[in-house]
Amino acid sequence: MTLPTGVENTNLINSEDRELLTTFFKQRIVPLSEDLSIKETYAQRRADRDSFFVKRHSPSMTRVEFELDLKDRDAFAATLETHWQNRPLQPVAQDLITLGTRFEQLDEKVDLSEFVYEMF
């Protein structure tokens, strides 16, 4: 499958899945861009700041932070929803994870893409 970028998609999904993903992306994710897009330009960022460092919410992990409840898809969705509480992404959580049920049996990728750093 060739993507709009001209690069081969290494995930072998069928056209129906591709359509579903495309629809979800356009209807649920793209509309959030107005709320989430960064308005600051590179030039502003470069000029306005003395440092690009950011602080963590806490300096290390607490014991409870090791214990994520991700035992199944429902638990994952609930944990994600909690993480996104009061943020524009919150309404997306359940449907996003439900969408993933279609790809549960997809074989794990054997190869890394040679074009882009694997960051998804």
């Binding site: 690069v7 994710i29 602080k55 090791f66 990728k109 040679e114 694997e118």
Partner: protein, 608 residues
């Protein structure tokens, strides 16, 4: 007596999946999945590596106190979806490529563990950069150290400055995605025609052939680096948010043309690009280290993350005197995250005391992988009717040393496999550094790889200063140091000259390990961590007067380093190696039966 707390760390799904077993804070075993699956950088759930770790520890899955994943999938999902939303319509390509994996396998870690281990073991989650930080600080001998982790990306962090004290790690500063030194380096890697996430090492090796003529353009246009080392990328030039390429057309225009086609002829432009991004990377790393030292007040430094494999930058940090002592996790990339996650959980979750270290470090020379007994090697050779002789340890050391001194190339598989990308004398191909032809022979007839790439020296620890300007030990081949003036030969780089001609001109009395800038990527060999290798080097010293050999990983291009006797034998027969050593069994190529290699083995391994 209370039973030991066995913690299994796992990294998977991105780069170099791995497993590590830590028992009561002590590292028992660690291995990458690629060594077993024979798929380089294998990102899949590391079922084979897990099985190996349990076997090495002599335990069953039900004995585990926990399995710890090296990052937090919720925070990763947060970053992925947030960035896609910020990117808008243009993010469709990356979404279609990444979503099936991100929503399928990558959120099923609990499930995969249950399926694989077939018992109910608690699953815990660490964080990517904390795992890296833990992977370098906890195995080090330091009781207090500054910690720098730099890579492509974890959840959000791409860089962290932290402080390690006792069994605590405190993160002080972070830099967040999409601003990433690792991704910047990977962008140049792809632009120069090498594979992302495996070609970075080649780019570093190419840099000494070039001049940093693009460095100002990079500083002015691509990345802003503040005096404290923090940085921001100018995203107008990068494609990784809205395409399946690291760079975009603006990047290409800025740097004077289209990307180099993979496997096409390397030109001076690629050499200059490599030199330029190397210089800028070093500047950023140096400033980050300065800030870390200033902030923490300690002059002990620990490093991890993929960028910590940039041994040229690492060497500069120590040479410039920014710190007094440095320890770098040999599995600095994501594989090491498995070890870090297990150690972090041991100390932070299970409150296991961190025992004082009375050795060089707690990493055991990084010989943490699978080993094979003489009985296992003999069984393989006997069943397959391969002729061999058996030599006891001392005799073996003499035999190998004499073979190398005679100009032979030796495959050397003795002891437990290394954890991390560098071969350190357990899965190594060895040659004579004095021989002018060694580099090209090993590159073209053994490794089948680009001839510009230099080889590394393994040197007796007490002879290191005879050859290199290196004040510290470098047991993990993670520091580049200048070759001593005394052994250099007159040599100048000429822009017009072909790379192959340049490579073939000697630079020192040890031409095979001296790069064109008179540098070498040094491994110091120590009797306490690798006695067999140390003794072989001693024998080589007795024969030749030199306490140094060429050491490269035991594989061909695109293949993971060999793991088992079968892997080693097959690699030996497919290449022009002369001698194979597997534990105490010695095989001569001339005595081997014709090798019936019906497979098109060069197609078996994708070029890296």
């Amino acid at each position: 007596m209370a039973s030991a707390k066995h913690i299994l760390g796992v990294s998977a799904f991105y780069h170099d999946s791995a497993a590590a077993l830590v028992s009561d804070g002590e590292i028992i075993a660690a291995a990458q999945e690629e060594r077993f699956s024979r798929k380089k950088h294998d990102p899949r759930f590391p079922a084979n590596a897990i099985n190996y770790c349990l076997e090495e520890g002599g335990i069953e899955a039900r004995d585990l106190a926990a399995v710890v994943f090296y990052e937090n999938p919720i925070k990763t999902m947060d970053r992925v979806v947030q960035m896609l939303a910020e990117t808008g319509e243009a993010g469709l390509g990356p979404w279609l490529e990444g979503a099936p994996g991100a929503l399928g396998t990558k959120i099923r870690f609990d499930d995969l563990v249950a399926n694989e281990l077939k018992c109910d073991v608690p699953v815990l989650y660490s964080e990517h950069h904390l795992s890296h930080a833990a992977s370098t600080y906890f195995p080090s001998a330091f009781e207090e150290a500054g910690i720098l982790t730099v890579d492509g990306v974890g959840e959000w962090a791409t860089t962290t400055l932290a402080m390690g004290r006792g069994r605590e790690i405190e993160v002080l500063e972070e830099i967040h995605f999409p601003h990433s030194l690792g991704l910047l380096y990977s962008a140049f890697t792809q632009f120069c025609g090498f594979r992302v996430n495996s070609g970075e090492y080649k780019l570093m090796g190419l840099a000494p052939y070039g001049r940093p003529v693009f460095a100002d353009i990079i500083r002015d246009e691509l990345v802003a680096i503040k005096p404290d080392g923090s940085f921001a990328l100018n995203l107008e030039y990068f494609g990784f948010l809205d395409s399946l390429s690291m760079t975009n057309s603006r990047f290409h225009e800025l740097l004077g043309g289209e990307p180099r086609e993979a496997e096409s002829r390397l030109t001076q432009r690629e050499c200059d690009l490599a030199a330029s991004i190397q210089v800028v990377t070093e500047e950023a790393v140096m400033k980050l280290v300065e800030t870390l030292v200033r902030t923490t007040g300690t002059r002990n430094l620990c490093m991890a993350g993929g960028v910590a494999l940039n041994c040229v930058a690492n060497g500069k940090v120590i040479r410039e005197g920014l710190v007094d002592d440095i320890w770098i996790q040999p599995a600095a990339g994501d594989a090491g995250g498995a070890l870090g996650a297990a150690m972090l959980a041991s100390y932070k979750y299970f409150d296991i005391p961190r025992a004082p270290c009375n050795k060089r470090d707690r990493q055991n020379g990084s010989y943490l992988g699978a080993g094979y007994s003489n009985a296992e090697v003999k069984a393989y050779l006997d069943v397959n009717e391969k002729p061999y002789q058996v030599l006891e340890n001392e005799e073996r050391a003499r035999y190998v040393a004499q073979s190398i001194a005679d100009g032979k190339i030796v495959g050397y598989m003795v002891g437990r496999m290394e954890f991390g990308p560098r071969s350190l004398g357990s899965r190594s191909i060895l040659g004579d550094p004095r021989n002018q032809d060694t580099q090209s022979t090993m590159n073209l007839k053994i490794k089948y790889r680009e001839s510009f790439r230099p080889f590394a020296p393994s040197v007796l620890d007490y002879r290191s200063k005879d050859y290199f300007d290196l004040e510290s030990d470098s047991p993990y081949m993670l520091l580049v140091a200048p070759v001593k003036e005394e052994i250099r030969l007159p040599f100048e780089l000429n822009d017009e000259e072909d790379l192959v001609d340049v490579v073939n001109r000697p630079r020192s009395s040890l031409p095979a390990i001296t790069h064109v800038d008179f540098s070498a990527r040094v491994q110091t060999v120590h009797e306490d961590t690798k006695p067999d290798y140390f003794n072989m080097l001693r024998e080589f010293e007795k024969i030749t007067g030199e306490g140094v050999v060429v050491n490269t990983s035991f594989n061909v291009r695109g293949e993971p380093p060999v793991c088992s006797p079968r892997d080693a034998y097959v690699c030996f027969m497919r290449t022009e190696m002369d001698v194979l050593v597997m534990e105490n069994c010695i095989l001569e190529k001339t005595q081997q039966p014709a090798f019936d290699d019906v497979a098109d083995w060069r197609g078996e391994y994708e070029l890296d």
